[in-house]
C-alpha cells in the first residue's frame, strides 16, 4: 500500500521549502518512525530522501534487465536469421558482427528505455484508478503526512 493511501491523522503544509524541511527533520529527530511519514511536494526535494532515509530506487535493475535483453536479442535474432536462410553475399562471413552491432545497439536502447518506464509504473504504483478518479493535489504546498498511530 502506498504511504499516501494510509489513514492520515496529522498533516502539515508549508509554502516554503526550507520550513518544510526543518519540520520534517524535527519530526524525525523526535523519533517519529520514517516509514510512517510521507511527503507530497510540487517539485522533487532531494533532501527529503536523506531525512527519510530512503533507499535508492531499484529502478536501475529494470533498466539493466531491459538493456541486456535488448543486446542479447539483437545479436541472437540477427545471427538466427542468417542461419535460417544462409546466403553468402560479397564473400563475407555469415555472422558479420559489425552490421549486427547496429541492430543490437538499437534494441539495447529500446528495451532498456521501455523496461525503465515499466519499472517506473510498477514501483510508483501507476496508473492508479483510485487516484485518477479522486486525484490528490498538492496545491503548490510542501506537505508532510503522518500516519495515525504515530500521531496519537
Amino acid at each position: 500500500m502506498n504511504d499516501t493511501e494510509r489513514r492520515v491523522d496529522r498533516r502539515w503544509e508549508f509554502e516554503d521549502e526550507h520550513e518544510f524541511l526543518e519540520k520534517l527533520k524535527a519530526l524525525v529527530d523526535q523519533g517519529t518512525p520514517t516509514d510512517l511519514l510521507d511527503v507530497i511536494t510540487p517539485v522533487p526535494v532531494p533532501a527529503t530522501e536523506e531525512i527519510l532515509k530512503m533507499k535508492r530506487s531499484p529502478l536501475r535493475f529494470f533498466t539493466l534487465a531491459g538493456a541486456l535483453s535488448g543486446l542479447s536479442l539483437g545479436f541472437a535474432f540477427t545471427i538466427f536469421t542468417v542461419f535460417d536462410w544462409p546466403l553468402i553475399t560479397g564473400g563475407k562471413p555469415l555472422i558479420s558482427l559489425p552490421p549486427f552491432i547496429v541492430i543490437a545497439f538499437a534494441l539495447t536502447i529500446l528495451l532498456g528505455s521501455l523496461a525503465s518506464f515499466a519499472g517506473f509504473l510498477i514501483l510508483g504504483r501507476m496508473p492508479s484508478i483510485k487516484k485518477i478518479q479522486e486525484p490528490i493535489e498538492h496545491d503548490n504546498m510542501f506537505i508532510i503526512l503522518l500516519e495515525g498511530e504515530a500521531a496519537q
Binding site: 502506498n2 504511504d3 499516501t4 509554502e15 516554503d16 521549502e17 510521507d38 511527503v39 507530497i40 511536494t41 510540487p42 517539485v43 522533487p44 526535494v45 532531494p46 527529503t48 530522501e49 527519510l52 530512503m54 535508492r56 530506487s57 529502478l59 536501475r60 538493456a67 536469421t81 542468417v82 535460417d84 536462410w85 553475399t89 563475407k92 558479420s96 552490421p99 547496429v102 541492430i103 545497439f105 538499437a106 534494441l107 536502447i109 529500446l110 532498456g112 528505455s113 525503465s116 518506464f117 519499472g119 517506473f120 509504473l121 514501483l123 501507476m126 496508473p127 492508479s128 483510485k130 487516484k131 485518477i132 478518479q133 486525484p135 490528490i136 493535489e137 496545491d139 503548490n140 504546498m141
Partner: protein, 433 residues
C-alpha cells in the same frame, strides 16, 4: 521577494493561459497548415494512383527530394533530444525553457520523416517488408543493409523520444488536472496516471529521468550516423567518406536548433511567455547554433580536402562538379546560409536580437535542406560513366508533398500548444527554487 508558492502559481497561470481559447491568428495558422497537409496527402494519393512517373526522380537520380526531406526531418528532430537529454546530463539550466517544445518538435519531426521512405517506395503498402517477420517464403530482411539499420534506428528513436516526452509530462499533466474542469479534468487525470508527487514517486521519477536521458544521449549520435551510412556505405563519389557520421550529426543539431528558434520565437510572443523565456535563454541556443555551424563548415572544407588529397579521379571530378557544375548556385546558397551567415552570431548584440535570430533560423533551415539536396543529387547526377549522366528537377508533386510535410509538422505543433503545457512547469519551478 515573492514566496515560492506565489511564483509557482504565476507560472502555472501564465503557462496554462496559453492553452486557453485559440485566437483568430492561431486558427488561421492552423487552417493554412492543415490545408497544406491535406494537399500533400492528396498528391501522395495521386502518386500512388498514377505511379512514380509523376515524380521527377528517374535514372540516374533515383533519390531526390523525398530522401532529402527524410534526412532533413530526421535532422530537425535531433536538437530536441540534445536539449532534453544531453543538456540535462550537463545540468544546463536554460534547457527547462525549451525542452518541452523541443521534445514535441522531435516527435513530430520523426513522424514526418517516417512518411518519406513510404512515399519514396511508390508501392507504400509494401512498407512492412522492411520489418523482419516470419513469412511463408521463409525470408528475412538483410541486416547488413543500412536501410534496415535505418528502420531500427528511426523507430527506436521515435519510441524512446515519445516515452521521454511522456515521462517529463506526467507531473505537469497533474498540474493541468488540478486547474481543469469537466471532461478536460477527467482526461488530464487519466493521462497523469494518478500522479501525487509523494517522496517515493519522486525518487523513482528522478531515477527514471536520468536513465532515459542517459539512454537517449547515444541516440543523438547514433540515429543520424545511421542515416548518414545510408549514403556512406555505398561507393558513390561524394558519399563514400568516413566523416559522414559526425558531419551529419553536427548538421542535424545545427538544423534542429534553427527550427527551435523558428518555432519558439513567435510562440513566446503569441503565447505571452516573455516573463519565463528570456533573451538570455535564446542566446544560449544561438551559441549552440554558432558552434555547430563551425563544425559543419569544417566538414565542408574537409570533404573537399579529402577528395583532392586522395587523388581519386572520380572524387575530384565529383567535388569540382558540386562546386562549379549544374547545381553550383544551390551549393553557393548553402554555404551562405550555413557557413557565412551564422558567423554573425559572434556579435553579442545579434545573438540577443530575436528578430535577427528568427530571420537567420529560416535561412539556416533553407541552407540545411539544400545541403541534403546538394549531397544527394549532385552525387547521383554525375556518378561514373558519362553516358549515364543526367540532371534532376523536382516535379510539382514532389514540391507539393514537401510543402505538405511542413503542413503536417506545423499542424501537429500548433495542436500541441493548445493541448499540453508548452513549458516544462515542474522543471521551471525547480530552477526557481
Amino acid at each position: 521577494m515573492a514566496s515560492p508558492r506565489a511564483c509557482f502559481e504565476k507560472l502555472e497561470v501564465d503557462v496554462l493561459a496559453a492553452m486557453g481559447k485559440p485566437s483568430l491568428g492561431f486558427l488561421v495558422a492552423l487552417a493554412i497548415s492543415a490545408t497544406c497537409f491535406v494537399v500533400g496527402l492528396g498528391l501522395w494519393g495521386y502518386q500512388m494512383l498514377f505511379g512514380m512517373g509523376v515524380a521527377g526522380i528517374r535514372h540516374p537520380v533515383g533519390w531526390g527530394v523525398y530522401i532529402t526531406d527524410f534526412v532533413f526531418w530526421v535532422g530537425i528532430a535531433h536538437s530536441g533530444t540534445l536539449i532534453s537529454a544531453v543538456l540535462f546530463l550537463f545540468r544546463a539550466k536554460f534547457r527547462s525553457r525549451f525542452n518541452r517544445s523541443a521534445e514535441a518538435m522531435t516527435i513530430f519531426a520523426v513522424m514526418t520523416a517516417g512518411l518519406f521512405p513510404l512515399i519514396h517506395l511508390g508501392r507504400s503498402w509494401f512498407a512492412y517488408w522492411l520489418f523482419p517477420y516470419p513469412n511463408q517464403r521463409e525470408l528475412w530482411v538483410n541486416f547488413r543493409s543500412p536501410l534496415v539499420w535505418d528502420v531500427f534506428a528511426v523507430s527506436t528513436y521515435l519510441t524512446v523520444s515519445a516515452v521521454f516526452f511522456f515521462v517529463g509530462l506526467v507531473p505537469d499533466l497533474a498540474v493541468v488536472r488540478a486547474r481543469a474542469v469537466g471532461i478536460r479534468k477527467k482526461l488530464y487525470a487519466a493521462f497523469s496516471l494518478g500522479w501525487v508527487g509523494s517522496a517515493k514517486q519522486w525518487v523513482h521519477y528522478n531515477q527514471l529521468y536520468i536513465f532515459l536521458a542517459a539512454l537517449a544521449t547515444p541516440l543523438v549520435i547514433s540515429v543520424h550516423s545511421v542515416v548518414s551510412w545510408d549514403f556512406a556505405m555505398s561507393i558513390v563519389p561524394g558519399w563514400h567518406t568516413t566523416i559522414f557520421a559526425p558531419y551529419f550529426v553536427a548538421g542535424a543539431i545545427f538544423s534542429g536548433c534553427a527550427m527551435v528558434l523558428t518555432l519558439m520565437i513567435p510562440m513566446r510572443k503569441i503565447l505571452k511567455l516573455e516573463d519565463h523565456i528570456s533573451i538570455s535563454h535564446f542566446e544560449s541556443i544561438a551559441k549552440i547554433l554558432l558552434f555547430t555551424s563551425l563544425i559543419v563548415s569544417y566538414a565542408y572544407v574537409i570533404e573537399f580536402a579529402l577528395a583532392f588529397y586522395s587523388g581519386h579521379t572520380f572524387e575530384i571530378a565529383h567535388f569540382t562538379y558540386r562546386l562549379l557544375g549544374d547545381y553550383w548556385y544551390l551549393y553557393a546558397l548553402m554555404v551562405f546560409c550555413n557557413v557565412l551567415l551564422p558567423l554573425t552570431l559572434f556579435a553579442r548584440s545579434l545573438r540577443r536580437s530575436l528578430t535577427f535570430l528568427f530571420v537567420m533560423s529560416i535561412f539556416v533551415n533553407i541552407g540545411m535542406w539544400l545541403e541534403r539536396f546538394v549531397i544527394i543529387v549532385t552525387s547521383l547526377a554525375k556518378e561514373y560513366d558519362p553516358y549515364s549522366w543526367g540532371t534532376y528537377v523536382p516535379s510539382m508533386v514532389e514540391v507539393g508533398i514537401t510543402v505538405g510535410s511542413f503542413g503536417l509538422f506545423f499542424t501537429l505543433f500548433l495542436i500541441f500548444t493548445k493541448m499540453l503545457p508548452v513549458l516544462a512547469i515542474t522543471e521551471v519551478k525547480e530552477t526557481a527554487l
